[in-house]
Structures are given as C-alpha cells and as structure tokens.
C-alpha cells in the first residue's frame, strides 16, 4: 500500500476543483444575481439586472446601476427623498419617489436579507 493516491484520483481532484472554481467565477461574474424591480404606480415596468452597469429614465426620474447597486440619481421632485435614499444593494431594500410614484425594490438571492437602512 505504498501508493495510496493514484493518477486517477489526482485527475478527479483537479477536475472537481476546476469545476468548482469555474462555477464560482461564472456565478460571481453574473453579479450577485439580484434584480432591481422598478414599479410605477405599483405596476412593474422594468426589471434591471444589477450585474450590468447602466443609466436609464423612468418617467421624470433617472436611475443608475453601478457595481451591483442601484440608486435614484436625478428627479424633478421637490424633496429629493429618493436620491437621498442612496445606493440599494441587498435584497429586500427599496426606495421610492412618491411624487413621481416610482419605486425600486431589490429582489433576488434573498439568502441573506439584512437591514441596511431604516427610513425615518
């Protein structure tokens, strides 16, 4: 029993590690898998993949996706509450521009929901 490890074992080990590494890289490359759901008047108008950086308009507000997070960056509303809500990243968090009736909610992994901001 001098040769506990055989060639086939080493090949299997390398294959498994490679498969795992490839899978992890692919999955993380596709962003966190989270999706931002944009609603106007409570109706879903757009679903945005947070893995793709972009800027887009919904009515009179402008939203930006960057580094897996989304934020209101421009709006014609008086208080700019939506812009002050900042960047949304974790599943479950949301922000809204009430005058324009636009809301954004992050949905997705749901694996680790955490409270990141508390509205006051």
């Amino acid at each position: 029993m001098k040769n506990i490890v055989r060639k086939a074992d080493i090949i299997l080990f390398i294959l498994l590690i490679a498969a795992a590494a490839a899978g992890i890289v692919l999955m993380s490359g596709a962003g966190s898998g989270s999706v931002a759901v944009v609603r106007v008047d409570g109706v879903v108008t757009r679903q945005v993949d947070l893995g793709v950086d972009q800027t887009f308009r919904v009515g009179d507000v402008q939203l930006q996706v960057k580094d897996g997070a989304i934020a209101f960056i421009a709006s014609d509303c008086p208080n700019k509450e939506c812009i002050h809500a900042g960047w949304l990243k974790s599943p479950g968090s949301s922000a809204a521009c009430l005058p324009n009736r636009v809301s954004v909610t992050i949905e997705g992994t749901g694996e680790q929901q955490e409270v990141d901001t508390v509205a006051e």
Partner: protein
C-alpha cells in the same frame, strides 16, 4: 468470514459500528475546535469505517451498520428527526461508494471517498433547495464541490493509510478487497 452470521463477523461489525460512532464524536469536537466560515462542512470521518466495511465485508453489511449508526447517533445527540434526515444521506453515500469502487476501477480509496463526498454535498444542496425553495442556494453547490474534494481526499488518504493495518488488527482475512488488489497490481 465464511458464514454470514459467524460470531466473529458480528463482533467485528459491532466494533466497527462503535468506531464509527466515536469518529462522529471526534468530528464534532474538531468542528468546535476549528470553526469554519462555511456551514455544513464536515470531514466525514465515519465514511472511513463504511469504506472499510465495503472493502472487507459487503454492501448489505455496510448499509445495516450505517443505518444503525445514524439511529444511535440520533439517540445520543439529536432526535428522531435527525435520524430521518441523515439516514437517507448515509445510505446514498454508501451506495455511491459501492458504485465507484465497483465500476470505476482506476480510482483508489482516495478517489472513491472524494467522489462520494462531493456527491453527498450536492445531494445536501438539492435537499436544501427543495425544502427552502431558494434556487440561489445552487450557487453554494460550487463551494461544496471544492469542499467535498478536499475533505474526501483527506478521509481517503487516512483510509488508504490505515486499512491494511486495521484489517490485520481485526484479524480479517482479505475477502475480496479488489480496490486494494488492483492498487498493488497496477502501481507496483
């Protein structure tokens, strides 16, 4: 080892059952000693015993001992629900080990236990997805593939290093340890 129910065979299997229980206690102590950031990661030391039974005894013996082990472990630690959860996993992993030993002859004990650990981890993820309905848990599967490869090779190396001696200590005449025979034939 002629008769299926010789006193020696029953006594030996009983001792192996006790060893597998001790190994799972040792494993839980190791887990408390070295807390890992990933939940559900275990070395699977008890699998060494089941591999041993598969090599020197038979598939039915291994299955019986495995079910008894999960039952006793449930009595010692958790409860009946733990038995219901872990018994299918134990049976599945032993069947996988048997298939790997039987039909993938180039693999040694190391490869067999690696394949078994990975398959067991993947099955665990599938069950978790079924129970929680959270498809994103599949992401975790890739982490568990790597974990299974590492933990499986560790237990496999321990198995390969100890089986000959353990068989000698238990006075087991090698019945049909094809996985060891082909090793000697192929590698030397």
């Amino acid at each position: 080892m002629r008769s299926n129910f010789s006193a020696r065979r029953i006594a030996t299997l009983g001792a192996l059952l006790a060893i597998s229980l001790v190994l799972s206690i040792v494993e839980s102590m190791l887990g408390a000693l070295v807390p890992l950031p990933i939940p559900g990661v275990k070395l699977g030391l008890a699998n060494i015993v089941f591999m041993f039974i598969l090599v020197y005894f038979s598939l039915p013996s291994a299955l019986v001992i495995a079910v008894l082990r999960t039952f006793l472990a449930a009595l010692l630690t958790g409860g009946l629900s733990m038995f219901l959860f872990s018994a299918p996993g134990a049976i599945l992993s032993i069947l996988l080990m048997w298939v790997a030993m039987r039909f993938v002859p180039p693999l040694s004990l190391v490869g067999v236990s690696m394949a078994c650990a990975v398959a067991h981890n993947l099955a665990q993820v599938c069950v978790a997805v079924l129970i929680t309905g959270e498809v994103n848990l599949f992401y975790y599967a890739f982490v568990l593939i790597a974990v299974g490869a590492v933990s499986g090779s560790i237990t496999g190396i321990v198995a390969g290093a100890t089986f000959g001696r353990a068989a000698g200590a238990l006075r087991i005449k090698e019945q049909a340890p094809h996985i060891l025979q082909s090793n000697q034939g192929g590698a030397r």
